[in-house]
């Protein structure tokens, strides 16, 4: 750890920008990385499990630890991270998970990355090793700096290790398929959540609504009976949700092909109130999170997409595109922008960590 700290201090002294890299699986996400790449997954001091207390439902892992390795270990004890983090191309690290805060299909039901995170340690821009939060479920001492790191894209510090709350892999899981228009799907997913059914994922694509139920055998069976629909075979269901989670399914694969072929489309990720009505835009759409996440593959101009999202009460992220001249994230304004800027200079006074990555 001391050598990592001194590398940070040297960089700060020389004003040298560092690009923090886990596996680089999310390098496409956000603004273009700047600075000298530092591959944290190759730093032995940052890799590996520190503690896993199955009875306690928490795990602590180095930030360079591959998610693959972490999740294999948890799975062997019948446990998982509630936030279902994506592994793009099978890659991804603990640090990248927190920095990007990208959560999977269970997000509205089991919570996001910040909800699963209990604490972390980081090296700030002064080279200090700091610990915030911990491994306990309840902790209200001091400001919640650990959770503030979620979504910061590594601009506030180098995460060295983190602890997460775990959940047991549910006893039973059933996926139901319904023929549905977008309208019907948005309505049905919200109604199902309102009835307190044990939902754990929902998605609409291409005329089908899929609802995943998870929990005790008896409650999943009872809920499935109430909802009707066609139960998907287990393998097919697992393949579908994994494809969505890791974005290897046909919707994303097709979108990436279209981008690379220079067709002028971009992938947009819109975080919206779940009951937002159907978005009338050219191109393809996929709905997740009971309506709260809308993926658009569209040639529409950035400004138009942003206005659409803003009118609905949410915001749009330019997720993947060849032309990334528009800002990737909706820029902050007013007092919030000022606070964000001051926060950055407090944690990284010399501006060495991932400058510009957030815009």
């Amino acid at each position: 750890m001391d050598s990592l700290r001194s590398r940070v201090r040297d960089a700060a002294a020389q004003g040298q920008a560092l690009e923090l890299v886990g596996h680089g699986s999310k390098r496409f996400y956000g603004e273009a990385p700047q600075g000298q790449p530092w591959v944290l997954s190759r730093e032995p001091a940052l890799c590996g499990l520190r503690a896993h207390e199955p009875a306690e439902l928490y795990v602590t892992a180095g930030a360079g630890t591959p998610l693959r390795e972490l999740e294999a270990q948890l799975g062997s004890q019948g446990q998982q991270l509630g936030c279902e983090p994506p592994r793009f191309g099978g890659e991804g690290t603990v640090g990248g998970l927190i920095a990007t805060a990208l959560a999977g299909p269970a997000r509205p039901y089991w919570g996001g990355v910040r909800d699963a995170l209990l604490g972390l340690t980081l090296i700030d821009g002064r080279g200090e090793l700091l610990k915030f939060g911990g491994t306990v479920m309840k902790n209200v001492a001091g400001f919640d700096v650990a959770r503030a790191m979620c979504g910061a894209m590594g601009t506030l510090g180098l995460i060295t290790e983190a602890s997460f709350k775990l959940m047991p892999i549910p006893q039973a899981q059933v996926t139901l398929r319904f023929d549905a228009t977008q309208d019907d799907a948005i309505y049905a997913a919200n109604q199902a959540a309102l009835q307190g059914l044990p939902l754990s994922a929902s998605a609409w694509w291409n005329g089908s609504l899929l609802l995943r139920l998870s929990g005790l055998e008896a409650s999943v069976r009872a809920a499935a009976k109430r909802l009707g629909g066609d139960a998907l075979p287990v393998d097919l269901a697992l393949g579908f949700w994994n494809g969505l989670r890791h974005q290897s399914d046909e919707f994303f694969a097709g979108a990436v092909r279209a981008i690379q072929a220079g067709s002028g489309v971009a992938i947009w990720r819109l975080s919206l109130p779940p009951t937002t009505p159907v978005l009338k835009v050219p191109g393809e759409q996929l709905i997740e999170w009971g309506g709260a996440l809308r993926w658009l593959v569209t040639p529409l101009a950035a400004q138009a997409v942003r206005e659409l999202a803003e009118r609905a009460g949410g915001h749009a992220t330019l997720y993947a595109a060849l032309d990334k001249s528009a800002p990737a994230f909706t820029p902050a304004q007013g007092a919030e922008a000022q606070i964000r800027a001051r926060l950055k200079s407090e944690f990284d006074p010399k501006g060495i960590f991932n400058p510009g990555r957030l815009g």
Binding site: E56, L57, T135, V140, S219, E336, E346, L358
Partner: protein, 488 residues
């Protein structure tokens, strides 16, 4: 007092009128302290804005006049967070108490900060929904105060803390500039560092919250409770771990030791097993099939862990009876001793047995008794150290005992506070949990939001030179803060 203070007060008078500004010391009574009544102070004045617009204007005036501001909800806080600043304005948010919108389809409610926690659930009940986080002060405490403290309750084991149930905030910075964090429309993600998470639990130091978008939860159709007796505290603590490890998430999982059970039984006559060294209350809620299946599994685990007796609630009245002693544990403690210190530490669940054994040993070491009643499922302890306040020597020992519990909690990887916050009470204990560099980052973070340091100064994060005394909730002469409320 700042040079500009008189002009500031003049401007506040003009803005708020006599009903919106209390300046007479005679009117300060209810505002002199919060639930931690051992600390009292008088503010310069109490401002009571009628709406968000006035709230913003009050903050801008105070900013101009360089007046410190202490936000205040219902004043039920247990760490002195709403304690007045002698040269500052106490900002009562009690009149911002309107539920602005309730949308069953998206399962959200948009409420002003002064709305009481329980009032949200009452309004949502018509739609079969409720607001899950349920501090035992819920009939009195406000959602703004809950946000500031990241408050929890019995339901939090299964449904999460305030943090997990708030989607967005609207409010003002210390300078009176409007700010919105998270999403007030109900979107789940926002770009950049999670400022919403930072604001939650910030004890009124970063911004004043005027409006909150909360997530509502479908009301479970059924709830059933098991009451299990154990021959040793260690066995009960092991049962807590075994329950969690078995993949169950109880809707509530609470423990009482024998001292506490006996005092509670004296007080409420719940029919508790007085021979048990410890009792566990273990609840399941949800659809009837779920509850039936869960209760069966819970029973099996409790039995395997050596429960000597297990009772199951057959109806709502019986469930209420099981909980009655737990809910009245604090007033019941008054029967054991006129004075007690209520600690609020949080530890990894797996070390519960070890911690309870350590506390037992500390009783001998300090020559004082300690009763335990707590959120076992969360590892959130509330040891009650019993002593006689008339004996200064006993008070000194009680404080030493309390400090040792907090230090032990930190050494076990826990925290000096699980839900009551730091306030003024635990400023010194912050130095046990955090390093100098960490405390400096907290100060810097405070400055990023409030460069002039006017919002609730002197609370939650210690000055670096202060690192000495231990923290305390000292209940004097059996007089409780907010005796009208049920206790957890």
């Amino acid at each position: 007092m700042s040079v500009a203070a008189p002009q500031g007060l003049q401007a506040l008078r003009k803005l708020l009128g006599p009903e919106g500004l209390i300046e007479r010391a005679g009117g300060f009574g209810p505002y002199e302290c919060d639930g931690l009544s051992a600390y009292r102070a008088r503010p310069l004045a109490v401002a009571i804005p009628a709406d968000a617009e006035q709230l913003g204007a009050v903050l801008r005036i105070c900013h101009e006049a360089e007046l410190p501001i202490v936000p205040r909800g219902a004043g039920t806080g247990l760490s002195g967070g709403a304690l007045p600043h002698p040269q500052g304005i106490t900002l009562s948010l009690a009149r911002l108490n309107h539920i602005l919108a309730l949308d069953p389809a998206s399962r959200t409610a948009r409420v002003q900060c002064g709305v009481r926690n329980l009032a949200i659930s009452q309004a949502a009940a018509a739609h079969g929904l409720y607001y899950a986080p349920d501090p035992s002060s819920q009939i009195a405490c406000t959602i703004g105060g809950n946000v500031a403290e990241n408050a929890g309750g019995v339901h939090c084991l299964k449904y999460g803390l305030t943090l997990h149930n708030v989607l967005g905030l609207r409010g003002f910075t210390a300078a009176g500039e409007p700010i919105e964090l998270g999403s007030m429309a109900g979107a789940l993600d926002s770009p950049g560092a999670d400022l919403l998470a930072l604001a939650i639990g910030s004890e009124g130091l970063l911004c004043v919250v005027s409006e909150v978008l909360v997530r509502l939860t479908p009301k479970p159709p059924e709830a059933r409770c098991l009451l299990a007796s154990f021959g040793t505290v260690t066995q009960a603590a092991q049962a807590v771990c075994a329950l969690i490890a078995s993949g169950l998430t109880p809707a509530g999982l609470e423990m009482m030791d024998q001292a506490m059970t006996r005092a509670a039984e004296d007080f409420v006559h719940a029919g508790y097993d007085l021979e048990a060294a410890a009792l566990l209350l273990c609840e399941s809620d949800g659809a009837p099939e779920t509850v039936a299946a869960e209760i069966e599994q819970m029973r099996a685990v409790l039995q395997a862990c050596g429960a000597t007796r297990i009772e199951e609630s057959r109806d709502e009245a019986e469930r209420a009876r099981f909980w009655s002693g737990r809910k009245n544990a604090f007033p019941a403690s008054g029967r054991m001793s006129p004075d007690y210190l209520c600690m609020d530490a949080s530890i990894p669940r797996a070390r519960l047995a070890e911690m309870l054994a350590a506390i037992e040993a500390m009783q001998t070491q300090w020559g004082l008794r300690c009763a335990n009643v707590f959120h076992a499922g969360d590892g959130n302890l509330h040891p009650l150290i019993l002593f006689d306040g008339k004996d200064p020597e006993q008070l000194r020992r009680a404080e030493g005992f309390g400090a040792q519990i907090l230090e032990t909690a930190v050494a076990m990887g826990g925290s000096i506070t699980g839900e009551h916050g730091v306030g003024v009470e635990k400023l010194s204990s912050m130095c046990v949990q955090f390093s100098r560099a960490e405390l400096e980052r907290f100060q810097g973070l405070k400055q990023a939001w409030d460069p002039a340091g006017r919002l609730n100064p002197g609370k939650a994060i210690p000055e670096l030179r202060r690192c000495a005394e231990g923290g305390k909730l000292w209940v004097r002469e059996g007089k409780l803060p907010h005796p009208e409320l049920e206790r957890f």
